[in-house]
Every structure is written in structure tokens, then in C-alpha cells.
């Protein structure tokens, strides 16, 4: 009888790992808490840096996991893993128990809840939105304020929920800088009359063709970059947003009236992942993400026998890195099932 691998989480990492593992002849089950697979791809429109439609990636992954006999269980959350001697038991919220020879945690990330940075006014002021909200507008084909009009001035705030001790996240989410650059370009494309301002602390363009995209934003789209973190937002009597920052490169405080403000929400360990970690004794780091056994040689291995990690449940990653990490987990799972089980 073929061995059974259960993958928890049906986003990019889970789908890729499921497809790859089934190629080795294992029986694979993919458990997803939402009604459909695809994870955060469902929220995004076009992807950095090449502006590929996220639906294309989703279609590829959906195709990859279909017709392989993968047991896709949607609308089901996992609460706990137990029993690591000869196999694992996976307890779901519906009271179901799945038995597995190996488990791949692909529980991904949650976007930082921007309302926690109260000083930015998300959920208080109408036209303060998040990067994810803006993607929804891109998908609909119209960027509009609550009154239906198009914004003439838009500000993008980097590092919302990242590099911020006040919300308990010391780490850099790594993708928000390039997302801001991509979205700034897109706003200028949709609204050629608009003015766009990015408020950053550092521009972290550490990926293939990110820096080039940054340059394109300056050169071809006239996006303005202001070095200073926005400290607070208020609303004027005529419904404009007033932001305060220090323009650190001139050394003077800066005040600006904007029609719309987009908060670049960072990445956090998913609630679902945290629940399983706490219930099952999986190690997590100071950043609350799963903590693999070795940063270099064991980034897919957990402290529990037979349990492995793939993707952003271990740290912020882009889609390319997530797919690579999901492919890498296959090598550890195969080795475990063939040689150590």
C-alpha cells in the first residue's frame, strides 16, 4: 500500500508540494480551511516584478494537482497533530481524524491587520485602504474613493506591521517594498493624471528585477519616493487625508493632503498555523513563524518526526521562493519515507 502524505494548507506551497509528491506515487491529501484552494493568490491581481496575472499561476497549480488522485479536502481546518512513532494523526475541526505517514505544514501567512496601527486610521477613515484592498480594485478595473471618484493623489505607506516593535513584529516582510513599487506603477497606469508618493524607510529591492522595477517607477511613471515613515494620519474637514512624516533627507517635517492612502500590510504567522503549533508542540521562533531545525540544511524539517514545512509558514517569501521551498520539501519527505520511516 502506498504511503500517505497529508499536506495542511492549499495555497501555493501546499498545491505545489501536493503535485510534486503525488508524482512519486504517494497517496496525497490536501487539507484547506477555505472553500477553495489558491490561498492568497485569490486576493492578488498582478504579480511583481513581471506583472503576471495571478490567475495564470493559480490555473497552473490547479491543473498540477488535478487528475493525480489527490484527495482535496476543502472547508476543513486542522487543529492538532499527534503520535509520531509509526505515523501521525491529524485532528480536524469537524472531529475527523486522518492518518498519515508524513505531514507537510503549508499553513502560510496572514496579512497584518492594519487596524492595529490605529494611527494610520484603517477602518476609521474612508479612504485609507490596504495593499490587498487595492488589488481588489485593480481586479475590478477601477480605483475609486468611497464617494466613487478617482483619487488624484495617492500615498503608499511601506512597513505597516513590519519592522515595528510597537506591534511586536521586528522582522522585515520583504515583499511590501516591491509590492508598493508595483502598485504605484499600476495606479499611474489606471489614473495617468494622479500623483503617487511612496513613504519608505529603506527600499529593499532584493529580488531579481526588483531594482529595475523601482527605476522604472521613477523613470517612466514619475512615482515620488519620500524617505520617512508616516507617523500619523488625520482627516480634514473636506474629507482629505492629512499625513505627517519627516522628510528625513531634507531634515524637515512634512505635511501632505492626500485623497487615498494605501497601507503595505506585512506578513505574519497564520492563526491556523499558530493553533497547530501550540497544540502539537511544533517550535516557533521569536517572529512566531515555524522554526525549522536548521536554517541552511533543514529549512523544511521540523522538530517533530515526520512533520515538514513548506513556504511562508516559516518566513516571508515571494511566490518563486515559495514554489522552490515546496519543491525542496519533497526531497526531505521522500528521504524520510524511504530511509527513516
Amino acid at each position: 500500500m502506498s504511503k500517505h502524505v497529508v499536506i495542511i494548507g492549499g495555497g501555493v506551497a501546499g498545491m505545489e508540494a501536493a503535485g510534486q509528491l503525488s508524482k512519486f506515487g504517494y497517496k496525497v491529501s490536501l487539507v484547506e480551511k477555505e472553500k477553495t484552494t489558491g490561498g492568497h493568490l485569490n486576493e492578488w491581481f498582478k504579480l511583481f516584478p513581471d506583472r503576471r496575472d495571478s490567475n495564470e499561476i493559480k490555473a497552473y497549480l490547479e491543473n498540477f494537482i488535478s487528475d493525480k488522485g489527490i484527495n482535496i479536502i476543502t472547508g476543513t481546518s486542522v487543529e492538532k497533530l499527534a503520535g509520531y512513532k509509526n505515523g501521525l494523526s491529524i485532528f480536524t475541526d469537524g472531529g475527523q481524524i486522518l492518518d498519515a505517514d508524513a505531514v507537510v505544514m503549508a499553513t502560510g501567512f496572514d496579512l497584518f491587520k492594519s487596524s492595529r496601527k490605529e494611527e494610520y486610521g484603517y477602518g476609521i477613515y474612508d479612504n485609507v485602504i490596504t495593499s490587498a484592498d487595492l488589488e481588489g480594485m485593480f481586479r475590478k478595473g477601477k480605483i475609486s474613493m468611497l464617494n466613487g471618484e478617482s483619487p488624484k493623489t495617492v500615498g503608499l505607506v511601506h512597513c505597516v506591521g513590519s519592522r515595528d516593535e510597537k506591534v511586536g513584529n521586528l522582522y522585515c516582510s520583504k515583499l511590501c517594498c516591491v509590492t508598493a513599487v508595483k502598485q504605484a506603477i499600476e495606479i499611474r497606469e489606471y489614473l495617468p493624471e494622479s500623483k503617487v508618493f511612496c513613504f519608505y524607510m529603506d527600499m529593499r529591492m532584493g529580488g531579481a528585477y526588483y531594482e529595475e522595477l523601482y527605476r522604472e517607477a521613477q523613470e517612466e511613471w514619475g512615482v515620488n519616493f519620500i524617505r520617512g515613515k508616516v507617523s500619523e494620519v488625520s482627516e480634514s474637514i473636506n474629507d482629505k487625508l492629512i499625513i505627517k512624516a519627516e522628510d528625513t533627507l531634507t531634515g524637515r517635517p512634512l505635511k501632505m493632503e492626500l485623497d487615498m492612502l494605501v497601507l503595505m500590510a506585512g506578513m505574519e504567522m497564520s492563526k491556523g498555523g499558530k493553533t497547530i503549533a501550540d497544540a502539537s508542540g511544533l517550535n516557533t521562533g521569536d517572529n512566531r513563524f515555524f522554526s525549522p531545525v536548521d536554517n541552511h540544511f533543514g529549512s523544511n524539517r521540523s522538530n517533530l518526526r515526520g512533520v515538514f514545512y513548506a513556504g511562508t509558514c516559516t518566513m516571508p517569501m515571494n511566490i518563486t521562493e515559495t514554489i522552490s521551498h515546496a519543491r525542496a520539501v519533497v526531497s526531505d519527505v521522500v528521504d524520510f519515507l524511504n530511509n527513516h520511516k
Binding site: E119, M201, R227, E232, K244, E246, T248, G251, P253
Partner: protein, 114 residues
């Protein structure tokens, strides 16, 4: 000797070797969070004093670290110690205490700033 009114401009370089960085050391010993500033400017953006006078706590902190004491001496007294900067700092720098300690350091060894 005829004087033609010409002068030689003083160099603008920060002379790292000869600058007196006593204040920075004094603060670091007592307030280690002084180390972790990333120059984001939140403190200065929210600062009431900085909105009306030439006072930037972000800038003063880096000037203290470089030992550019004249500019610090001139400005450090402007702070009203309201503490708003401490509330907004994403790195958790105890900025209010940094100002207090800077004043202390100047009072002790670098000519009174107050």
C-alpha cells in the same frame, strides 16, 4: 599687512577621529536602545517642537553619535519632553530618556546645554 577680507572656509567634514563623542558614550551606557535607531523620522514627524522650530530629534541623535556637539548643544534644550516621539518609535528607542541623558552629558562635560 593689507587685509583684503578673504577668509579660508572651515572644512565641512565630520572629523570622526577628533570629534568628542562623550555624549554618545554617556547615553549608550545608560540607554542601550539609543543604538537601534534606523532614522525613519517618526519622532521628528510627530514632534510639536520640530513643527515650529528647527529641531529634529532624529537628526540630533545622529549628530550626537558623530560628536557634532555645537549643533546638539544649540538644539537639545528645545525639547519639551512630552514623549510623543517615544510613543511612535518603531524601534522602541526611549527617545525621551535619550534627550534627558544628552542634556546631562552636556552639563557634565560638554558645556551646559540648558
Amino acid at each position: 599687512m593689507n587685509k583684503f577680507g578673504y577668509t579660508i572656509s572651515k572644512g565641512r567634514q565630520i572629523n570622526y577621529e577628533t570629534n568628542n563623542r562623550y555624549a554618545a558614550e554617556y547615553i549608550l551606557d545608560r540607554e542601550p536602545s539609543f543604538r537601534v535607531c534606523i532614522e525613519c523620522g517618526c519622532c521628528s514627524a510627530t514632534c510639536t517642537t520640530g513643527n515650529f522650530t528647527k529641531f529634529s530629534l532624529r537628526e540630533l541623535q545622529i549628530l550626537i553619535k558623530r560628536g557634532e556637539n555645537d549643533q546638539v548643544r544649540e538644539n537639545i534644550k528645545k525639547c519639551m519632553l512630552c514623549g510623543k516621539c517615544t510613543l511612535v518609535c518603531p524601534r522602541g528607542v526611549n527617545t525621551r530618556n535619550v534627550v534627558m541623558l544628552a542634556r546631562e552629558a552636556f552639563q557634565k562635560k560638554l558645556q551646559n546645554a540648558i
